[in-house]
Symmetry: C2
Subunit: 183 residues, 2 copies
């Protein structure tokens, strides 16, 4: 991203996406809600009295090399494809020990040891993904990842999530919530 985009995920009684399941994976959960709205940019007002609201910024990539970025760009699809009626929002927070690591150490765990990019690549082009950074915003999570996919790609999505959760990188995750939605 050469410019940033502020995005708010707002849970409440009504919204574009119905929440079918909201479950804690690691640490504290979020309060249950019926629906989720996604609000892009700062110019739109947020709904009144949401059950919760999480905020993040679509920003520059932090670990990906040029070769990896080009391989991803060749396969990845945009959000809002009409057939992609399934979605997941997975907020995660990484531990203080992760954030005490240097860039080379984090990169090594992220890709050389955990194949984070490689595992994500296997779910392309069926699963679309957008990462939102929130650590610098003082939010309760460090990252909000939003995924969209058609029902026939549910198995590829579940395989990706299971594989990521089994990596060395995931030892550094101290809070994770898994929210599944349909449009």
């Amino acid at each position: 991203m050469t410019t940033t985009l502020h995005v708010s995920f707002v849970a409440g009684a009504a919204g574009e996406w119905s929440i079918n399941r909201l479950s804690p994976v690691i640490g504290d959960s979020l309060n249950p809600a019926a629906a989720l709205s996604i609000i892009e940019g700062h110019s739109h007002p947020l709904p009144d009295a949401p059950t919760w609201a999480l905020h993040g910024t679509v920003s520059n990539i932090r670990y990906t090399t040029r070769i990896e970025a080009e391989a991803l760009a060749a396969r990845q699809q945009p959000l809002k494809r009409p057939e992609a009626v399934c979605a997941a929002l997975i907020p995660i927070r990484k531990s203080p020990s992760w954030w005490a690591l240097t860039q080379d150490e984090r990169r090594s765990i992220f890709e050389e040891q955990s194949q984070h990019i490689g595992i994500g690549m296997a779910a392309l082009p069926g699963v679309s993904r957008r990462l939102h950074h929130c650590r610098d915003l003082g939010e309760p999570f460090d990252f909000l990842t939003w995924f969209e996919y058609a029902p026939e790609h549910s198995d590829a999505f579940e395989r990706m999530v299971d594989q990521l959760r089994a990596t060395p990188e995931w030892h550094y995750i101290d809070r994770e919530v898994d929210i599944r939605l349909t449009r």
Copy 2:
């Protein structure tokens, strides 16, 4: 940083630091003001009607390797040393072409081509430094760097600033303001 710290730099008629000089280096300047206050954390109210306020987050390191981080840690001194009565606040914004680069490309320009860490290291321990990230916050700058030094280290500070501005990395800077202060 294993935790983040929100910091506001607030310019106005009064404050802990007197502004002696405020000059644009690249692109638009900021409005002149007499003094600057630094407010750490979210719990303190900001002064009313400031001339301007810039916000950033002390966050995790983005380019430094373990070897470099240990060399820096062995030499760097904290802020707020009684003898460090000189300060500089240098807000910078990097260009869209910088942010379109991948991590490996940015690291190569930052250190292998520009010796950013090496140039900064030469000013240690006389010059203390704290970097605040603001790109993800939707602020007008991407980084706010705050420096403190005793008068006898002014030459080392000026040499560092001159050397950094002559690097390939600085070709990617599209806004820079240089603010000098004393306490």
